[in-house]
């Protein structure tokens, strides 16, 4: 379970990137965080991951305050970064192996890695190829495999669909659904409203560091989510 309580981040340069965010993502829930560029989505994720420290408020993972025991919380999260680059001179399997061991999964064998890579839709002949030969989408898939293999109860994804072809994106959504059904709490930051519509249990729209809209699945299915999003965005233009 992921919780944000009055979570606020003001960067050293004075930029208020996140303004008193209150949010709770329960086990078995996929939460989509939408927002324009610079809205504060990555900042939110970074706060949960303890990559930056909050100015005030709390980020809580499975009941543990991230600030109080950052190392402990790392056991309960996995993460897919914005632009997965990984180690170009390692093969997909070697990358997976390294991160799996870092995540505490030291007993896995080649077959386990292959199974996961198949699951995220990586083509078989790429398993033992060096990552520097991979396309962006292929790397993204390995990144996803790394997040999945850790088998943590909470998963944070920062724009994982960017660079994925439609088929792979659809596969990713299916994987996310499966993970949700397995009881994971999933926070996904994205610009992809269509995907949000199809898989999200809840959607939040963020603007200038504030969560300006929060809808359950039933609610946003009734409205036109795209329309809603644009309306929220437009307000910025209208009220300068």
């Amino acid at each position: 379970m992921l919780q944000a309580i009055e979570l606020t981040k003001r960067y050293e340069d004075g930029q208020l990137a996140l303004d008193a965010l209150n949010l709770e993502i329960k086990p078995g829930e996929i939460f989509f965080l939408l927002g324009a560029n610079g809205a504060g989505k990555t900042t939110t994720i970074n706060l949960f991951l303890n990559f930056i420290e909050p100015t005030s408020g709390q980020a809580i993972i499975d009941g543990i305050d991230v600030m109080k025991d950052p190392l402990e919380t790392k056991n309960y999260i996995s993460y897919v970064s914005e632009n997965v680059m990984l180690y170009g001179n390692f093969t997909a399997r070697q990358n997976l192996d390294f991160f799996a061991k870092l995540g505490g999964k030291s007993h896995l064998n080649k077959e386990d890695y292959y199974t996961i890579m198949r699951k995220v839709g990586l083509q078989e002949q790429a398993f033992e190829k060096k990552l520097k030969t991979f396309s962006k989408g292929m790397r993204q898939k390995v990144g996803l495999a790394i997040a999945i293999i850790k088998d943590a109860p909470n998963i944070l994804l920062d724009e994982p669909t960017s660079g994925l072809d439609p088929k792979s994106a659809a596969e990713l959504m299916q994987i996310l659904k499966n993970l949700r059904n397995a009881g994971k709490s999933i926070l996904m930051c994205t610009h992809d409203i269509l995907r949000a519509k199809s898989v999200a249990d809840r959607v939040g729209i963020m603007k200038e560091g504030r969560l300006v809209m929060l809808r359950d699945r039933e609610e946003f299915l009734q409205d036109d989510l795209e329309q809603l999003y644009l309306e929220y965005m437009q307000e910025t233009v209208m009220m300068p």
Binding site: N46, F51, I52, Y79, S81, F98, F99, K101, G104
Partner: protein, 525 residues
């Protein structure tokens, strides 16, 4: 966790282009450097062998005590193949004199300070210092920045690993890559030594090779930590590499030259020629005394002209003659008895001037040495030359030993009052020298024989008293005379020198380690 990170970095480094390039550079440069150094050593040792044979022959051929003049030929140190230090600036010969202390190995005149290692000689240690520091930076400059740029830093820190562990793992991974490179260089170096028949190292020397290797490891550690520190201070690899390269040039090439330049401008030394002039001033009364003494003895013995059959002499107590007046023998005995102790006294007086000059050189060198400690490569260089017996300190101690040897030798001569015996200048029985009258007769006989032809001359020569024709005596027995012996590893000051520099490198490494660790704790992802 640390092991996991280290292993990952090690494997990545092994497959990287920079590793291949680094290995190729070592493969090319190290053997080449060693070939030239070993060659130079072979030449030196040949020169040494010829010179010492010559000196030995001369020494053993001495027929009179005044001619027993050992020369010390400096044996080139095999280890200097690894680090030349100031060995290039030094000559190899010292001839012992009663009238003067030896200052430095001759072959160098006074135009500059031979203790200053101003030239950039590319020996093994220098190549290691340049190449491995560069590779240490090349492997470490992007340690954090690259992982940051590739988002892998975030992916790693999402796991239960603290930043210090990550940093240590990173550090070990780089070391694990560089130490084999270093080992490769040393193994090549050692193979070269083992395969050269002219080079034989003793136990102490092998210990020094081992210490040199450890110093090199420490040196590499310093540069790896420096690269890591710069990386932890930078956000982008491009900034980091620029800063690293600038610092590298500054530390390796500018600091040493600035140190030499500063030493030359701020610590002035006496001109060698001026020192020589000052020595002449000190010596001036001696020459007067000498003349007076000579006149006094001539007067005392009532001699108006010195006549010898065969005579050879010099100003530093050197004297060899045979045949002639009994009075001439008495004169020489009297004169040597006065001359040799006087020469020794004057040498002591002159030493004050020489010492001052030498102290000036040493002061300048020490200044340069201290200032150069600002650069790790210079610290390593000083360590290397000290371990390889080619540092200024080695030569200074060597000369001290030579001066001590001169003292021992002189004491030996003095105790036995050799210069008061007739053997100082001749091997003839004093009884066979002749009176004034007999000598005049003999001269006349000789002139008559000369007019009569070669046969008469031969007959005349045969009629001379025993020993008049030199060459009738074999060489003196010089077995009892002290001989020079020097073992470089008996130098205790070198231990402190090496230890201090070792500690300094260690200190720098520790400070960099702490700073990087602190800095990386707040590294922005």
């Amino acid at each position: 966790m640390i092991g996991l990170i280290a292993r990952k970095d090690f494997l990545l480094n092994l497959t990287s282009a920079r590793f291949v390039i680094g290995l190729a550079v070592c493969l090319l440069v190290i053997p080449f450097t060693l070939v030239t150094s070993v060659d130079r050593y072979k030449q030196q040792i040949n020169v040494y062998k010829t010179a010492s044979e010559k000196v030995e022959t001369e020494y053993k051929a001495a027929k009179v005590y005044s001619n027993v003049r050992p020369s010390v030929i400096h044996r080139p140190e095999a280890l200097a193949v690894f680090s030349e230090g100031v060995s290039r600036n030094m000559g190899n010969t010292v001839q012992l004199q009663y009238g003067e202390y030896p200052l430095l190995l001759s072959g160098v005149a006074g135009f500059s300070n031979p203790l200053l290692n101003a030239f950039f000689s590319l020996d093994f240690a220098t190549v290691i210092a340049i190449v491995l520091s560069l590779f240490a930076l090349v492997f470490s400059y992007d340690a954090f920045t690259r992982e940051r740029e590739n988002n892998t830093l975030k992916m790693i820190l999402v796991n239960r690993i603290n930043r210090s562990a990550f940093f240590i793992g990173k550090f070990l991974g780089i070391l694990l890559t560089l130490v084999p490179m270093l080992l490769f260089c040393f193994v090549t170096g050692i193979l070269f030594l083992l395969l050269s028949p002219d080079i034989a190292l003793d136990g102490a020397m092998w210990t020094n090779v081992l210490l040199l290797f450890l110093s090199a490891v420490l040196y590499v550690v310093v540069f790896v930590l420096f690269g890591l520190f710069v990386s932890a201070m930078s956000k982008r690899s491009s900034t980091s590499i620029a800063v690293c390269l600038l610092c590298w040039i500054w530390l390796l090439f500018l600091v040493p030259n600035i140190a030499v330049w500063s030493a030359k401008s701020f610590v002035k030394t006496e001109q060698y020629d001026n020192m020589q002039l000052a020595l002449d001033d000190v010596e001036e009364p001696y020459w007067k005394e000498r003349e007076e003494k000579s006149r006094e003895i001539l007067k005392m013995l009532d001699i108006d002209g010195l006549s010898h059959w065969n005579y050879n002499g010099g100003s530093d107590g050197y004297l060899e003659f045979s045949g002639g007046l009994r009075k001439a023998l008495d004169y020489h005995l009297n004169f040597s008895t006065w001359e040799v102790p006087r020469l020794i006294d004057y040498a002591d007086k002159k030493w004050a001037v020489q010492k001052e000059y030498l102290d000036g050189l040493v002061k300048q060198e020490r200044f340069q040495q201290r200032l150069a400690l600002l650069s790790p490569s210079e610290i390593f260089g000083q360590l290397a030359s000290s371990l390889c017996y080619s540092d200024p300190g080695y030569y200074l101690v060597y000369m001290e030993r030579v001066r001590e040897y001169r003292q021992t030798f002189i004491d030996y001569v003095r105790e036995r009052k050799l210069y008061e015996s007739s053997t100082w200048g001749t091997r003839m029985d004093p009884e066979n020298f002749v009176s004034d009258e007999r000598y005049s007769e003999m001269i006349q006989d000789y002139e008559t024989a000369f007019q009569q032809g070669p046969e008469a001359i031969r007959q005349f020569r045969a009629s001379l008293p025993p020993g008049w024709n030199d060459g009738n005596y074999g060489p003196l027995d010089v077995v009892g005379f002290p001989v020079f012996d020097y073992k470089p590893h008996t130098r205790t000051d070198a231990y402190n020198f090496v230890l201090a520099r070792f500690a300094l490198l260690m200190g720098i490494a520790l400070v960099l380690l702490m700073l990087t660790m602190l800095r990386f704790r707040n590294y922005q992802l």
